[in-house]
Amino acid sequence: MDVKTHQFDVVVIGAGGAGMMAALYASRGAKTAVISKLYPTRSHTGTAQGGIGAALANLDEDHWEWHAFDTVKGGDYLTDQNAAETLAREAIDAVIELELMGLPFDRNPDGTISQRRFGGHTNNQTKKPVRRACHAADRTGHMILQTLYQNCIKEKVTFFDEYQAIDLITNDGKVCGVAAVCIDDGEIHVFHAKAICFATGGWGRLWETTSNAHSLTGDGPALVWRAGLPLQDMEFFQFHPTGLYPVGLLITEAVRGEGGVLINDKGERFMERYAPTIKDLASRDVVARSIYLEVQAGRGIGGKRYVHLDVRPETVNRYLAEAGEDRRVDAAYILSKLPDITDFCHTYLGIDPTKSPIPIQPTAHYGMGGIPTNLDAEVISTGAGTVVPGLYAAGEVACVSVHGANRLGTNSLTDLIVFGRKAGKAMADYARQADFVPLPANPAGKIVAEIERIRKSSGKTKPYMIRQEMQKVMMDHVSVFREAPGLQKALDTVRELKSRYQDDLAVDDRGMRFNTDLLEAWELGCMLDLAEITTLSAMERKESRGGHSREDYPKRDDVNFLVHTMAYPEKGGIRIAHDRAVDLSLGYQPAERVY
């Protein structure tokens, strides 16, 4: 097969918020290309609803230190405190930068950026919710994605749209390029580069019920893993408490930020029992588990597997009055703050959320783990922090780790902007002083062989069968609650599916042009790799912390597990080690988490 070769100082893989932020900065100092399997504006950043967190203090007293502490506590103390500091300090300037790029935030009467409440964000003195989430209605991510793409057009950033990265190329262990398939004609291209940044987003499609796009299949972590590098904290995958029942699409926490409450079959506001101080605005892991427990206790609506999210003005006002607040809302206000949510409820369920409560269930949402990096977005290869020269990662795919065991709402968008910018700057600096590592002979040889194997596969198992089985077993045994026998079952199933994927795959489309049958099958291979790593990482963490809840080890164990999980690829399998220390430099000592 013909292989075309390109040369750039910097190649960014992914054109979501993190990728485009990195590209804007890198291209100011180095010849840069962005390759993305989707048109940039189709990236999943565009679906982010509620807001981007920064202690602007436009409405309430706020300080970056409070934001940093909330992030550490939200992460159940697995958050690296130096990373939380960087995030919270630089968030302020990052949000201002977005506004200066033209982002149309909602406004306060004095013309400053509007902010609202979000789960886990508090005034550290009173412990009450603080307005920290900067937003543009309930389409903040859409506005970020559009604004960044617009600025990329303005600054003439080079894009390879609908090119899918399928291999990270190394020479003698050194990173030197990326192989990608041009989806339109099926040709393989090699991008020779000094610096490469992964910004490929999440992998929620490992699970049956998810808020994530079909395209979020974990290609980035799989490529890094296959190049012989470790992945960090993969057992920590966040289940967002409020996915629309039954489709799983996300209903933003902003609904609760605006005053919405969770109600069980008996009409109780049950979060009062689980989080007496901030109730429905407790951290996501806490709320997801509470819903799960209510359902298990038979208090799901009509005995089914969901509860209600009630944002009807009369309900909101009743609880506002109960809390002694002066604020009151009406249907027009709810509509103006949550137009897209209203539209989703209408389109997918035929209900008006100002008139009927919304049925919700927890949904697979966000990967806290991923490709391990340091504070400059450089990828590391050991628990001690050995840097891999020329390799970077930013956004959801990266694990800095700023989110620890559980991410707070609004902190991902902040992460994209803060660490995307750092990656871009670092790569431009690196490219200035580094030389190209030569490409190996036949750089795309191995991956072309793998692609041809899939294209010609003529077994009996269609990719969707394997995918659905994987998604089901991950949902049943590696979701909100976990225990040893279920994890073992998931591991056995995933391994069996992997062997069928190798030996019995059936792909219909043998063509070159826009062959999504082939690419979906290739993506399934990535997901199977990540499912195995996730399950093994979960088995080895014998405690409960943040998004990882073990029924057989219900307590947090700071003596043995206040440490990151590293999964290393080794001949013959996966080695799990707990050899990356948690940074405690802000001095926040692990405490019991009460909300």
Partner: protein, 239 residues
């Protein structure tokens, strides 16, 4: 229930001309989205069926197609909204006016070229505030262009526009919507340049106010109204 799908197929690698592929699905629920059903056809029956999709809930703009002759996002159409009887038929084709790459996938480059041509980016009217903070904007000024910030570049409007079908030179409603978003932003200083671009031969005057675009928009943007406001701004020489 049972639903029949009639899908416009064309793979230039193997087909001389386009044809209709027919597929029957059992166990369809009224709440199923057309996107899920297209996936079922692809996954269970014929892997060569090709379409774009990503978010599955109407915000990424990937899956604009013609469903029973009307431009829609496949992920936003529920079976129950199509008024089908058991065994009824749904027809799905690529959107019109852009070259077909394969089956339901069209070439978006001409569409994005028009978008890029209208300077769809912020050109500040004033220098950065000296205090290192955000530019201020009143809630009223912000509301002025709220509607057109919702655009997801799905092309439902442009590919339902008879003027665009007649000439691909016309920038089309989507590009005008995106120009509107900046023209009416009080912080922006490039209004005149954009109005100049849009008053050219390929610009707003090609719009005959036929109104196809507004009902086509899955984001419920008042497209024709935005175009009208841009026309007025050109006549008034400013916003």
């Amino acid at each position: 229930m049972k639903v029949k799908f009639r899908i416009r197929r064309f793979n230039p690698e193997v087909d001389k001309k386009p044809y209709w592929g027919e597929y029957t699905l059992d166990n369809v629920e009224p709440t199923d989205r057309i996107l899920e059903l297209l996936h079922r056809v692809k996954w269970e029956q014929d892997g060569t069926l090709t379409l774009r999709r990503s978010c599955a809930h109407g915000v990424c703009g990937s899956d604009a197609v013609r469903i029973n002759g009307v431009n829609k996002l496949a992920c936003k159409v529920l079976v129950k909204t199509l008024d089908l009887k058991d065994g009824g038929q749904v027809q799905v084709e690529p959107i019109l006016g852009l070259p077909v790459v394969k089956d339901l996938v069209v070439d978006f480059e001409p569409f994005f070229d028009h978008y890029r041509a209208v300077m769809p980016y912020f050109m500040p009217a004033t220098p950065r505030p000296g205090d290192g903070r955000e530019r201020r904007q009143s809630p009223e000024d912000r509301a002025r262009f709220d509607d057109t910030t919702k655009c997801i570049l799905c092309a439902c409007c442009t590919t339902s526009c008879p003027s665009f079908w007649a000439s691909g030179e016309y920038v089309g409603p989507a590009a005008i919507v995106n120009a509107h978003r900046f023209i009416f932003d009080s912080r922006d200083g490039a209004t005149q340049e954009r109005l100049n671009i849009l008053s050219e031969e390929s610009g707003v005057w090609r719009c005959r106010t036929i109104f196809n675009c507004t009902p086509a928009c899955p984001r419920e943007i008042e497209v024709t109204r935005a175009i009208g406001e841009v026309k007025l701004a050109i006549q008034r020489n400013g916003r």
